[in-house]
Amino acid sequence: MHDSDAMPINSETRDGAVILSPVGDVDMAHSPSLRSALRSAQEGKPPRLVVNLTDVRYMDSSGLATLVESMRSAKNARTSMVLCGMNPKVKAIFEIARLDQFFTVVDDLDQALTV
């Protein structure tokens, strides 16, 4: 039995922006998948990186840590990183960790591509 398993993560490029859409729970078992996808997406130094969390029903601090790490890389690469589509349960952990102000967070994908 492995201690992690692959998480489905849809990837697309739209108007130069890379959009990653993970599906499921971003926890200790799945955050390595998200970390790998984010690193791959950032290798091309896109002008914009959108993490669409619409289909993420749960996230723990390992998911937060992954996004913080990615945000730091994005800043260094001058990539605009935007999070969108958080449900109230996912949003709550950002607020508990007081990271809701650290990220650019918008309601939906359309806003994420234009903000």
């Binding site: 039995m1 492995h2 201690d3 992690s4 398993d5 729970d25 926890d27 200790m28 078992a29 749960y58 723990d60 601090s61 390992s62 937060l64 840590a65 992954t66 913080v68 790490e69 109230p88 349960k89 709550a92 952990i93 508990i96 960790a97 007081r98 990271l99 650290f102």
Partner: protein, 167 residues
């Protein structure tokens, strides 16, 4: 320990089982009157505690035991359960309970948020060394008191003074 847990499960220290632990805790919390958001937060606190055991206690070894025990908390005069008590035990290396503190949140960096989240979400969080080996974390979350909150059957009553038994 003065009373048996109402639920007690043993799981291996493998992250793939975290989702099952969350589902268990969340569904019991819902039955005790917590709303969906609170259930999710309580499950989050347990998840963070389990991750800390796996990551720091067992150094990511995936075949070590972790025990989760659950009790309703009695609070009101009628003996209605008024919250949830969760005890997480392990056989990991022992640490000074006073050093189980979250880091400063102003320092934004990956990692180190688990203990902060646990203390933020739960009303009580107490670390202690188990007799012999391992650590014990006792978590308590008191339920809101809306008049129409669902309650568990009287047969599920517990006493607040109860503490988890030794294995």
């Amino acid at each position: 320990m003065s009373e048996r847990p109402h639920i007690r499960v043993e799981l291996m220290s493998n992250p793939v089982y975290l989702s099952g632990a969350r589902e268990l805790v969340s569904s019991v919390a819902r039955r005790l009157g917590f709303d969906d958001l609170d259930c999710s937060k309580i499950a989050l606190a347990v998840d963070e505690a389990l991750c800390n055991v796996i990551r720091h206690g067992y150094n990511r070894k995936t075949d070590r035991p972790i025990w989760i025990a659950l009790w309703p908390v009695d609070e009101d005069a009628d003996g209605n359960p008024d919250g949830i008590r969760i005890v997480i035990e392990d056989e990991a290396k022992q640490v000074d309970p006073d050093k189980m503190k979250g880091r400063e949140l102003a320092d934004v960096r990956p990692g180190g948020l688990g203990v902060h989240i646990i203390r933020e979400v739960m009303d009580e969080a107490r670390y202690e060394r188990r007799e012999g080996d391992g650590m014990r974390l006792t978590l308590i979350k008191r339920a809101p008191k809306p008049a129409d909150a669902p309650r568990i059957a009287p047969g599920a009553r517990s006493t607040r003074s109860a503490t988890p038994s030794r294995r």
